[in-house]
Symmetry: C2
Subunit: 175 residues, 2 copies
DNA sequence: CTATTTGTTCATTTTTTCTTGAACATATCA
DNA sequence: TGATATGTTCAAGAAAAAATGAACAAATAG
């Protein structure tokens, strides 16, 4: 986020091509700094940041102009944000273009992210684990370390189960 | 993990340059499949996988030979794993080289990862948030959307606090 | 129906991240 | 001490991920 985009004026939806305000820059900066935790591209954090501090829903154009971002990135970023439920498109009477607004409940954000990003990975892990179990059952290992292998493989199943138990809880904990 | 490295033989620490066994490949495959959740390089998952199914602690050489990995990657990967507490180096009587063994308690693994990777990021986020708050206090905004901005900025603090509360809990939940 | 606006997809380019390998440091042995 | 073994660091190359921009599709206004 170039410092040169700073503006003293308050952010305004009335002027789509206005520079980002100091407030907007600071909010975006916050989102960009934490978004790496969840492995999402910076551009997505930028989009979310602008929508987060916008009193009005904004159309694609406005986001592109204010963030100096390509249409492709913006379109894909919004698609991702919508899949998480982090952004919704809002009907604006008399407006032809889609307008987007940010979902701001932490609980929902977390739930969407877990559902779309974490769960699928855990499922793929589970498939690998099934394969591993079949392999182990078939081999009928009987060396001196047989017990060790049994234990380690069994432990993976425990991990897998534990993770699947904890994830939904996480959603509940967040208020 | 090339399929050509498959071996029907049981994994053996006695033969450091032996091909990876089918069991080892399957275990590594499992770790590689889930490691993207935590944003750690594949090579690190491979190292951990080999140690996880090894009845004996293994030295760097062995890991390099069996995984066909460069010395640099192996050294750095082990450093990272040690920082998480996912791998410990073990004293082996009469052995000159360091030997490594995997920590297998999910609770400890999670705690180490949170401490080393998540917490620092949240702290940097908190700094950004402090900056944002100073900015907002100084500006003394009074437009029609003043309340809206107040609410959104306040909400970020709530998120930040909530995250810091939940993380330690996570460690406790995992048995 | 046609022209225009709006939005998506995807091949290419750019950026970031990971891996390698060689130089350097450190420790141990003879 | 010098020679060898072990391990780390880091610049450069390779691989992966993200961003761009142009072609395409869909919708709507005239």
């Amino acid at each position: 986020m170039p410092i040169t985009m700073l503006s003293e004026d308050p952010p305004s939806a009335a002027s789509p091509e206005a520079e980002l305000s100091a407030l907007e820059v600071a909010v975006i900066d916050f989102f960009v700094s934490i978004v790496k935790v969840v492995g999402v591209p910076k551009s997505v954090a930028e989009l979310y940041g602008v929508l987060y501090v916008s009193p009005q829903p904004l159309p694609l154009d406005t986001l592109i102009q204010r963030l100096r971002m390509s249409k492709g990135s913006a379109s894909q970023g919004l698609k991702l944000l919508r899949s998480f439920g982090a952004v919704r498109s809002v009907y604006m009477p008399g407006e032809r273009r889609d307008h987007f607004t940010a979902e701001v409940e932490l609980k929902r954000l977390a739930a969407g992210f877990i559902r779309e990003e974490i769960q699928p990975r855990l499922e793929r892990g589970q498939e690998k684990l099934d394969h591993l179990n079949r392999l182990h059952d078939a081999s009928n290992e009987s060396g001196p370390d047989a017990e060790f292998y049994d234990e380690r493989i069994y432990r993976l199943s425990t991990w897998s189960r534990r993770s699947r138990e904890v994830l939904p809880l996480l959603g509940q904990i967040l208020e």
